[in-house]
Subunit: 342 residues, 2 copies
């Protein structure tokens, strides 16, 4: 009879272990709780029985009674953005390292946020890292529900909230300065959707720096951060202004789209005939065919900071808002001429 007839057998609970080990349920609980008061001998016996039965504490019950779920929610707007996967992977890895699970919410339209928040409250997550647009009212809801929040690469309009950002403005300024120093004068900008926080910050910073240099009325078109919209953006720009020295795309992916279109449709040599810069320093930007001149976000440091900030405020709910702003790193690349022509 090698085929044992197994009873429908539900998962063993702490009571099952307790019975089998001849102790109380409390003992079992304490046995697995860090710092629980338990005699080494008893612990050994319980652990043995637990292993044998394949006992695993029920996370739901633990969360319900203790008020701690060891789950954080991650809100990310458009996962397909090529730059986010990297951030997502890093955040997930770092959280997992700290014995925390990730409940992922991907926001197609930013309007779903309310529905998502509803789910966040229901699941009593320990905290939230949000890389999607939140209104001030929404941010206030977090305080009301006492759920720690860290914003990633965006800042609230006026509400107080912890945030980790790459200094888009400074980065964009640096790019513009290099372009100006190299003698570019006829600029075009491929911006993001007007509801994108970083997109707008970069657009404004670029325009401001150009204005400082006496360049007004710079042509601006809007894309949606996609490859296609980069190409479309370039076409639109060249439609307005016949000749351009330099195009500033607010993301690498759009810069790449613009580069491909410049070469393929307009037969331009990059950077000889036209300079194109991006932003982010995402994977494909460094590919040989593009080598986008860009600002690289310090993803490792930023994700680490975000996770640490979140954990800090999970452990100390009186922690006040803090903002950490990381400078990006200029990547010379080869898609822009950054030295004077003569």
């Amino acid at each position: 009879m090698s085929e044992e007839i197994k009873p429908p057998m539900r998962r063993p609970t702490s009571y099952d272990v307790a019975r089998e080990a001849g102790v109380s349920q409390s003992a079992v609980s304490r046995c697995f709780a860090p710092g629980g008061s338990i005699a080494p001998k008893t612990r050994a016996r319980i652990v043995k029985v637990a292993t044998q039965l394949g006992y695993r504490p029920n996370a739901l019950a633990q969360g319900l009674i203790s008020g701690r779920t060891k789950i954080v929610a991650l809100l990310i707007s458009n996962l397909t953005n090529l730059y986010y996967p990297e951030v997502l992977a890093e955040l997930t890895r770092r959280l997992t390292e700290r014995d925390t699970r990730v409940l992922l919410f991907s926001l197609g339209a930013e309007s779903d946020v309310d529905g998502v928040l509803d789910q966040v409250w229901r699941h009593s997550v320990d905290g939230v890292i949000c890389a999607a647009r939140l209104s001030d009212e929404q941010i206030l809801l977090f305080a009301e529900h006492r759920v720690p929040l860290v914003l990633y690469n965006r800042m609230p309009d006026t509400a107080q909230a912890a945030s980790v950002c790459c200094d888009s403005a400074a980065g964009e300024r640096e790019l513009v300065e290099k372009l100006l120093a190299a003698g570019h004068r006829r600029f075009g900008i491929i911006a993001g959707p007007d509801d994108s926080y970083v997109g707008e910050e970069r657009r404004r910073a670029a325009l401001a720096r150009l204005a400082d240099a006496g360049l007004q009325d710079v042509a601006v078109v809007r894309g949606d951060f996609s490859y296609e919209s980069g190409g479309a953006g370039l076409r639109a720009l060249l439609d307005k202004e016949k000749t351009l020295d330099a195009v500033i795309a607010v993301s690498d992916l759009m810069a790449i789209g613009a580069i491909d279109t410049a070469r393929d449709v307009f037969d331009l040599r990059i950077p000889h005939d036209m300079s194109i810069v991006g932003f982010d320093g995402s994977g494909p930007a460094s590919w040989t065919s593009y080598q986008v001149t860009s600002i690289q976000q310090p993803v490792a440091r930023m994700t680490k900071a975000a996770v640490m900030m979140l954990i800090e405020r999970i452990e100390d709910d009186s922690a006040t808002a803090e903002r950490r702003l990381f400078a990006g790193k200029f990547i010379a690349g080869k898609s822009a001429r950054i030295t004077p022509r003569f």
Copy 2:
């Protein structure tokens, strides 16, 4: 006194709503349960109070008592693979549509699987979609724990499990046939790591079809699916065989790496001097600079199938294993010559 002194105020529970609405806790529960027996008038009153108090059912308590969490775990091996984000986004979207949350587990090294599974059991998820390598023993654990499982783009060695795959073998064969028909004879293969299911399937299929055509001893090198390893792979191949007509990379990203290296390092015109094909049909493959000749996986249909299969077996735990195999779509692209030279 515009500043109300709020008591520390915990989240309202069904009891709070019940008291306020003058009914029992059961009534509140039934009010939100679909098909609960409740008088319209009572329901209206409860809903009003609930809204007013901002009541939200506690998902932990619901999961604990009902045995259903409406959470599925997603196990994904390397998120940075550029092709997975698309799959991840689609799966998340579809699951969210069906009122199901996603617990994300990203596996850096495949060895973490056991630790991840432990967490999966603890959280009593309703099901799992797995795009990472699982051993037969691990697959059996799912049956033991009665957790429905759907494998994405991989099949178990011998154990029974539901799975959704793109027909890699057929796709790779088609690619090889087109290349053969166009007159290519000197082949090289850039395979994946030997523990990659799809990688190995594609490699074997390519080699088999080439052998059928009388081509033995085809050079094979291994990459890790990254852009860099594609370039390195091409260098290694050209090191072994001085001249090659065609290179078969088992993923688009490696094909792209190979294309860039071929152009930049070896000064080859693609596809004039050498054909390079990939696999997946991921975003960058269609960019103007590459236009990789490839097999496109029907991601939309596959993710839909995976989610439907999972839901089917969540609702009917007696459902036996099923395998759905989707044919990929040939993308002519421009990285391979697929018509005879004369």
